[in-house]
């Protein structure tokens, strides 16, 4: 057993680092560093740069335009991106719908959609959750009724992340109301400009407009926009969820958050000394550091298993639970480290174009909002309680 990276892998890390130093626009880097919301344009600007480099879709096979990396390289790439304050690639097209189209889509769909995803021509959003279907995803009610060469779709989707920018949505709809729960579901690709679609913002407790409600009223969707067979939607959905969970530990982000926390705690004063020297605070930083060490090795174990062709199993649920808990703990520590400076809520700076002259105020502005935002980590992608039930059933056979 060895835990170190090979010389080739270390050289790859250097290559990624150099690329990020050169190619990540300074204004984008700075917005990410300060925890400010990026505009749709900024996201696309960065994703075009990645695409020009051939690195936009690390998970894609080479034949579709992926870089042909293995799991270790993808892990290194994620880590370096987080360390350099690069924006997270909007995952709905690249990491979520694309693998489904590759696996279940027909040739025509692959030819049409995959290049458009890679070239950032389409912005995808996810039509999964509904007001009555959260963790219990299979109880979706949005109805799709066949009418000649179309489905007529009516219903409501929610928690649609960045749906305000999207022109396409992949959607779970019920095509057969009489079939058993999972069996009556199909997977549709819906043009967001279709008549009958309304997108309404949901403002979350951090004051951000990240998620939306999407209302569908008699929306006509051509049947060629169905991926897979009618009734096969649940298979697509499950397939997609396993792809979603492979990098769910968010380890690169956790590492970056710990670095940020340490530098804050070294700089900020507490009773005349650097905060990091305060025993009770330091103890929590120490515990977070050790948890991160454990999580990193667990993550590498999963990556190594994936490299050998094993599907990520229970460990990915474990990573999701512990990874989200750690990131939440780090966001709590960061908020506390800021002390009274965590209180001002400068939303024009965080979510808009307002500027601040005071660098301390700018550095502190996102702390509390991010703490509240990070509560989502243990809820989305299958709430942590759901993850535990999955492990109990599938691994422990309880």
């Amino acid at each position: 057993m060895k835990l170190n990276f090979t010389p080739e892998e270390q050289a790859f890390r250097q290559e990624v680092r150099r690329f990020l130093e050169h190619s990540l626009p300074e204004d984008i880097r700075e917005r990410v560093r300060l925890g400010r919301r990026l505009s749709a344009k900024d996201h696309i600007r960065w994703q075009n740069i990645l695409n020009d480099q051939g690195w936009l879709a690390p998970n894609w096979p080479k034949q579709h335009g992926g870089p042909g990396w293995g799991p270790v390289q993808r892990h290194i790439f994620d880590e370096e991106c987080a360390a350099a304050h690069a924006p997270t690639v909007v995952p709905f097209g690249i990491n979520m719908v694309a693998p489904v189209i590759m696996h279940f889509g027909n040739e025509e769909q692959q030819r049409h959609y995959l290049p458009r995803i890679l070239n950032n021509q389409d912005w995808w959003c996810q039509g999964y959750s509904e007001p009555g279907a959260g963790s219990d995803l299979a109880s979706v009610k949005t109805r799709a009724v066949r009418d000649g060469e179309h489905y007529v779709v009516t219903g409501q989707k929610t928690w649609t992340t960045l749906g305000q920018h999207a022109n396409m949505m992949f959607c779970l709809v019920r095509t057969d109301p009489d079939a058993k729960k999972q069996a009556g579901i199909s997977f549709l690709l819906i043009d967001m400009d279709s008549p009958g679609i309304t997108v309404r913002p949901i403002i979350t407790l951090d004051g951000a407009h990240e998620v939306n409600e999407v209302f569908l009223d008699q929306v006509r969707v051509p049947i060629e926009n169905r991926v897979g067979e009618e009734g096969q939607g649940w298979t697509c959905a499950k397939f997609l969820l396993t792809h979603e969970r492979t990098s769910i530990a968010g380890l690169g982000h956790a590492k970056q958050a710990l670095r940020h926390l340490k530098s804050l705690a070294a700089r900020l004063q507490h009773r005349g000394r650097p905060l990091i020297e305060s025993p009770s605070f330091r103890q929590r930083v120490v515990r977070a550091e050790i948890e991160l060490m454990a999580l990193e090795v667990t993550n590498l174990r999963v990556i190594a298993a994936t490299s050998e062709g094993c599907a990520p199993g229970a460990e990915s649920s474990l990573l999701k639970v512990r990874g989200s808990e750690l990131r939440q703990e780090l966001s709590d520590l960061t908020r506390r480290a800021l002390g009274p400076s965590a209180l001002p809520f400068l939303d024009d700076f965080l979510y808009g174009s307002g500027e601040l002259n005071d660098t301390h105020q700018a550095d502190s502005a996102a702390g509390a909002a991010q703490y509240f935002n990070r509560r989502k980590l243990s809820i989305y992608g299958g709430a942590n309680e759901i993850q535990k039930s999955i492990v109990a059933k599938t691994i422990l056979n309880m």
Binding site: M1, K2, L3, N4, F5, T6, E9, V72, K255, L258, R259, K262, S263, A266, I276, R282, Q283, V285, V286, R287, E289, I290, E291, L292, M293, A294, L295, V297, T298, L300, R301, I303, A304, A305, E308, A314, E315, L318, V321, R322, E385, K388, S389, V391, A392, I395, L396, N397, M398
Partner: protein
């Protein structure tokens, strides 16, 4: 990066697990614990010798098999799984590793070779009441005399002292350095108070009252670094032993939840118990990761090594306690009984924290060495 085992390692692990099942059943273990200690003459110890286990953790330079940290991990994990009563770590690895580093050719011939051949066992006396887990802050002294060395002081919880042909004793020298000396059974001025620890390990408190030793009893007059390296190996090995015990505690608890019915349904059907069981599993897997980290860092420079070892020992200490306490809780009243075998695992797992430094001790180490950057 490579987490796979070599073919030899897989064979080793299989052999050891079979050995545990065949030779250390709960009943066999009870008989071994109740019988008078046989030291190296114990049949199980002789089987270790036949299997090459006594040579495994030592370098080829001193006549060993050159096993790595991960080989030791597999051995200790298997011993943890069966709660092996043999003092593999205390009677072989710790004193042997220190001897291999410090002893001259004569001392190695006298003490190390017979150790590896299964002819005798040794012990390491490093711990003192006042210094707790600090191996350097000791008050036992060694003074040079015309005829050799004079030892004065005391040691606490010396595992395997009664069965050891020689005991390596640490002492503070006049120049402030740490020395290591070999004390033999029968040396004048040495007193033993023998007992079993609460998790069934034979141990002794020792006092040294003007003990005069010949020059050749001194292994080193500057042993600080060697002692640190040896204790690092011991800590990694303990993590592995605890890992094995955690695996079994989890397995037995899961099995019990599936078997035991209350309110007309298996306990395993209750969601609160399912999630608790998953939490145990989660601690187990994270402890496995930290044990791997500890076992693969032993060849690194002292600073990086000891940081990781401290982190691993602290982490495994907490995981072990969580799993032990939940194993008792989920077994209900049965978990409180001697008869229910999981209670023996729980005892080993709780007391794991008291060997070679507890969670607080190691958290403090990490805290003192916390780097400013991640």
């Amino acid at each position: 990066m490579d987490f796979s085992l070599s073919d030899e390692q897989r064979m080793l692990a299989d052999t050891l697990n079979r050995l545990g099942i065949d030779r250390v059943s709960p009943e066999q273990r009870r008989q071994m614990l109740e019988a008078p200690a046989k030291g190296a003459a114990s049949p199980l110890w002789q089987t270790f010798a036949d299997l090459g286990l006594l040579h495994m953790p030592f370098s080829e330079a001193v006549g060993g098999l050159g096993g790595e940290g991960t080989d030791l991990m597999l051995i200790m994990q298997a011993f943890g799984r069966c709660l092996s009563p043999e003092p593999y770590l205390a009677g072989l690895v710790l004193p042997g590793k220190l001897l291999a580093r410090l002893g001259d050719a004569e001392q190695q011939a006298r003490w190390l070779i017979p150790l590896l051949e299964g002819k005798h066992q040794l012990a390491l006396a490093w711990q003192e009441t006042l210094a707790r887990y600090d191996a350097h802050g000791i008050t036992t002294t060694a003074r040079r005399t015309n005829t050799g060395w004079e030892i004065e002081g005391s040691k606490q919880v010396v595992l395997n002292a009664a069965a050891a042909a020689g005991i390596l004793v640490t002492a503070r020298l006049d120049d402030g350095q740490l020395g290591v000396f070999i004390v033999q059974q029968g040396d004048v001025g040495v007193r033993y108070h023998d007992y079993l620890t609460i998790d069934d390990q034979p141990a002794s408190d020792m006092t040294f009252d003007t003990v005069n030793l010949p020059f050749e009893a001194c292994l080193s007059a500057n042993a600080g670094e060697a002692l640190d390296a040896t204790l690092a190996i011991g800590r990694a090995a303990l993590c592995a032993e605890a890992l094995g015990a955690m695996e079994v505690a989890c397995d037995q608890t899961l099995e019990y939840l599936k078997e035991r019915k209350q309110f007309g349904t298996p306990l395993a059907s209750f969601q609160s118990l399912q999630h608790r069981m998953v939490d145990m599993h989660l601690h187990l897997e994270q402890a496995r990761s930290m044990t791997i980290l500890a076992s693969t860092c032993l060849e690194q420079p002292a600073e990086g090594r000891d940081y990781r070892i401290a982190a691993a020992k602290a982490y495994c200490g907490e995981a072990a306690r969580f799993i032990a306490e939940q194993a008792i809780q989920l077994h209900g009243g049965m978990g409180m009984t001697e008869e229910c075998y999981v209670s023996h695992y729980a005892k080993r797992l709780i007391m794991f924290d008291h060997y070679l430094g507890d969670t607080d001790h190691h958290l403090e180490y990490v805290s003192e060495h916390l780097s400013a950057v991640a």
